[in-house]
């Protein structure tokens, strides 16, 4: 085929991909694999706590292994969420400034939420 399918500007600049796609793809899969185990564990823990009282719930989360897995869950969950939401925004938001603003916003929210969650678990685990 003789007709070049790139638009004129892209052809002029000679830009290719940013070479970051594989890393994004791989991170999404690795966090997904971790979350298969972490989330099922988390749901089982929550189910075991639903019909107990506050002190029991707090003591359960405070156990070292539970606290460690919970921190791992929080960090992995928000990483995975940002990777996924990023792709959704890139696919559907076609107004450039809104796209960039949304991408930055989800990262800010995810980092703040993850830090809050981790701090909460540490407070429970360390007992104050």
């Amino acid at each position: 085929m003789s007709k070049d399918l790139r638009n004129p500007l892209a052809r002029a600049r000679g830009l290719g991909s940013a070479k970051e796609g594989v890393g994004h793809w791989m991170q999404q899969r690795i966090t997904a694999l971790a979350l298969v185990f972490l989330t099922v564990w988390f749901v089982l823990v929550v189910l075991s706590l639903v019909h107990t009282d506050y002190a029991t719930a707090r003591a359960t989360i405070a156990r070292p292994w539970n606290a460690v897995l919970l921190v791992a869950l929080i960090v992995t969950m928000f990483k995975h969420a940002v990777l996924g939401l990023q792709v959704v925004i890139e696919d559907y938001v076609h107004t450039r400034w809104l796209e960039v603003a949304s991408l930055v916003a989800i990262k800010f929210i995810a980092v703040l939420a993850a830090l809050s969650g981790v701090l909460a678990v540490l407070r429970i685990a360390l007992g104050n």
Binding site: V43, V88, A114, G117
Partner: protein
Amino acid sequence: MAQTGRPLSPHLQVYKWQVQMASSILHRATGIILAVGSLIIVWGLCALAAGADAFSSFSAFAGSLPGTVVMIGWTLAFFYHLANGIRHLVQDTGKGYAISSFVLSSWLSIAIAIVLTLLVWAYLLLGGHA
């Protein structure tokens, strides 16, 4: 968008409905729901850390009618994203792309999500008090 004259692939409206359309978009929709739901998890943990009073207001939300609807919705979204996510991980290895198994695994993700949600909420609403 730039006018490039590139050929466009046919879009959804020219196709007959098939289950893969649902399983695909549901994965994104449930992903978005779970991303919002993760904020509720953080809320619960912060309440648990803050003390019994703060936690009781979280429990009151979770136990209320709107709270229960949200929790059931979260459960359904979670089990769907889990089942279909595992399906995608399997497909990433190159397996399951024959049309028959692709359709079957789509239905399987949906069915597993509904069954597990029913089991969990049957346990919570009926069996858990025993």
